[in-house]
Symmetry: D2
Subunit: 292 residues, 4 copies
């Protein structure tokens, strides 16, 4: 599987009372991403509020996404569970429904040791034949994995073949590249570092941004690949404030509010998460106007 480009993250639309998933709207959200020329769809990531779904809801979103994408692009299923048993459970499900890949991160209450994290990945890998993207995001998952440790898992676990790095520290990418002699593909998960990550050799950019700003991320990716550096810089700075905003105000809340501003109601994020307040909505509207 030679994944490259923009990996789009759909939000999970809820019903008015926040209690159910609105699958029709999820379909429209996915369509928006496909129209924005994403090269893959990653369901049940941070933007998808996977951590706030019941098991039944989680399965529903996974299944629906695979069916709706219908092979147009690969589908990656995010798994970030507190217990290894539940991660195994979900990984098996992802395979059964025909997903193409798992994006697996530890999720911690207790800080996990490398031995514990390795065991987690290894157990999940043994339970499902799907390729695994190792995903490091200490800001949400509460545990940080070093480049050297992640690469040791790539070496030891046959299906673990890629890395997504979201710390926002460009040196991590330098380390991944250097320590693996450029052989292990890595992806950028830090929106407002996309320019640098792609220049540093990232195979792609994992982002919820196309849900609101169309193919601008894809244009940036293409400009860099074609050596149009002035254009790339201009495209990046055009998106920069927006990219930083959706991260700092919470991806799910920001994208859902942005979709509403664009006329597509995707419901509110699930409590305790709150939608953007009025001031934030106005700021977002201004940025979207500037990018339209």
């Amino acid at each position: 599987m030679n994944l490259t480009g923009i990996i789009g993250y759909p939000v999970t639309p809820f019903s008015q009372d926040n209690k159910q998933i609105d699958l029709d709207k999820l379909g429209r959200v996915i369509d928006v991403l496909l129209e924005a020329k994403v090269d893959a769809i990653a369901a049940l990531g941070s933007a998808g509020e996977a951590a706030y779904l019941s098991e039944a809801e989680w399965r529903q979103v996974a299944e629906y996404t695979v069916q709706h994408v219908a092979g147009k692009v690969p589908v990656i299923i995010g798994i970030a569970e507190l217990t290894t048993a539940q991660a195994v459970n979900y990984a098996q499900h992802a395979h059964q429904i025909g997903a193409d890949m798992i994006m697996l991160s530890p999720f911690s209450y207790y800080k996990l040791s490398e031995a514990e994290i390795f065991q987690h990945y290894d157990t999940v890998a043994s339970a499902s034949p799907l390729p695994i993207m190792i995903y490091n995001n200490p800001a949400t998952c509460g545990v940080d994995m070093s480049p050297a440790f992640m690469l040791s898992m790539v070496e030891r676990i046959p299906t673990a073949s890629m890395i997504k790095e979201s710390t926002g520290d460009i040196q991590r990418m330098h380390k991944i590249h250097t320590l693996s002699d450029g052989k292990v593909p890595f992806f950028n998960g830090c929106n407002h570092m996309a320019l640098e990550a792609l220049n540093a050799g990232a195979s792609g950019w994992c982002t919820a941004a196309p849900g609101l700003i169309g193919d601008k991320p894809k244009q940036l990716f293409d400009a860099i690949k074609q050596g149009e550096n002035e254009k790339a810089q201009a495209l990046f700075y055009q998106q920069y404030e927006f990219l930083e905003f959706i991260v700092s105000s919470g991806l799910a809340a920001a994208v859902k509010s942005g979709l509403a501003l664009q006329g597509m109601d995707a419901g509110e994020p699930r409590k305790p998460l709150l939608p953007l307040n009025e001031q934030e909505q106005q700021r977002l509207q201004g940025m979207l106007d500037g990018l339209a």
Copy 2:
């Protein structure tokens, strides 16, 4: 409710296959704490692996603990859930089964704003009449609450009346004391800072240590209250390495391994958590021997 002294935290014993809770053993674990002269029992805290239990298991532990303690000391129920809906659900259950208090912390995937945290506490408080101890532990819960913010919740939410601080920063306690004119009781949740916290005015010390070292924590508490400062210092430094060890190696893993070393099998922690390795077990054995 005038809570003071040592608040003991039971671990949650699992069956051999890690899949079920062994209630008989939980009873014995609670008895050990009561024999260690704890002034309250806090079920479903970090040490109790609450984050790794299914809903059914969580309810089982809560109910059994209240029944087994049987009014000898107050029972506090820890609640640290990702969604507000589930926290409400558990808070109602805690009240129904006759618990005395809730120890409520946010648990985050997305970083939560103060508005989101306030809403979480306020909604839970509205759903259950039990007194609430606001619990701040960014290392496990992924979100940090300042003294000023926690005190504002004490002021605005009638049943929120106490604070448990586990950052390990003694200045937080100074702030709580100073900003509240000494009127809001606070508890120490950082084992290896117990001496200072109690000297700085903490009403009590929340700890799993009595499960392994009997009434040593209670002796320390008493020495400080009686102004026996040399004795307090000696008692603290006697326990210090042990206290730091059980935190740094993971409370559940450390206490369960320690219980096994003392002849009481409480099973293993739930995966991805691992039991202490052999070297750690030997180190723990040495410390327990020194404290016996």
Copy 3:
């Protein structure tokens, strides 16, 4: 030398044009500290703006302080120089003029390795027979020394016999006590952690506070030693806001402004340091009133 209690830090009064040292006023500043019952005087520390003095001024302050104190209490000379050569130079001078001890810290532009720091201490120790207090204050000196490393210097360098810890991390003191079996005296350099440091076994408290609030620090020290814990706590919280303020607003600026408010003009700190602004002065006045 059995140093214990309160070690007082004089500020360095400058002339109106900031260009010369006003020795008469320095004498009065020292007298204020002696009246506040300090157990030693430490010249040329942070409060004394040692880093901002020329070599001639530095020598002038050192000599005058030893003469003025005239053996009433021990005099400690602070040395924090960028080059080892200059530190040696000053250490020899401290001995020649009859000071009792050196308080030696590294001062870094480049981060220093432990080998570099050790060499620095060892070379200075070889050049002067005075006892050395190892002083760790990364916030000002730009380099952090671990308890284990400082204790290794105590072991290897015969005249290095004490430690001053100013990180504000109480665990450092626990480590010093534990790793040295309570045998290496340590002093607290973090004003707003004085209560805890003394309870954790610190031999004394290094502070500029007596310059403005008289023997309140000494009273706190005595209360703890006598096991009057409620009194100690009350004394500490009475001073707490003040202690935190003089640290956060800069010791030299704060103490000089406070002295002016109390009618003793000690000049301004040396540029780029600025005196307290009006708002800060009013806040300080309020705190001094409350402590009078």
Copy 4:
């Protein structure tokens, strides 16, 4: 003055006994940089051990550098002094001897407020007509200046026209670019982030690396400007380990040891700084061999 490209930093060679500056060798060090096609020479930076020189030595290096460069490229003089008076003194000297620009950073013992830092820059700017590059390097100077604050100085101080950023946080550069609408030139001072900084719009790269690896940095600069992104990435990763090494092991020590390995004795760094140990020298030799 339209500065762009590679700004080279000479080390300061000392005599065998570490007590004097060897000007002949300084000349050779400067020649090496000029042969490496640097676009400017920056004397008395971190690499030049400015912080460890006496005033007489400092003046000697400044004067000699201007004379030796003799207008081939612009000469920038670094000034990082603890007192504003000394910074003024040096800034006047830099102008008198015919330097082209000052690179000015605060250097702190006490943490400085923005008011103090502004006053420092403003006073120096009033004392010398030379253009000022605002230099932010908290790791050495002990104080951090935000992009917004530095840009406010550019706006308020007529001669302050450029920024050098050395935190290693790429977001700082994004902020400088965004907040100034791309109008304030900024330079990269973090060697192992050169690829990203230049892609993010940095006008140049301040580095001591050409002293050891010739025009490799210049080649990287050119490749990026010409949109040869694969070549740029290859050139960067070729240098990466070396760039990280000279920073982490101390620029002055690393470059001096490297020069010695290449047959040009530049003496040792000044104590407490130590030369590279044997192991480090071997590692450096290996990297230099790989880059030759």
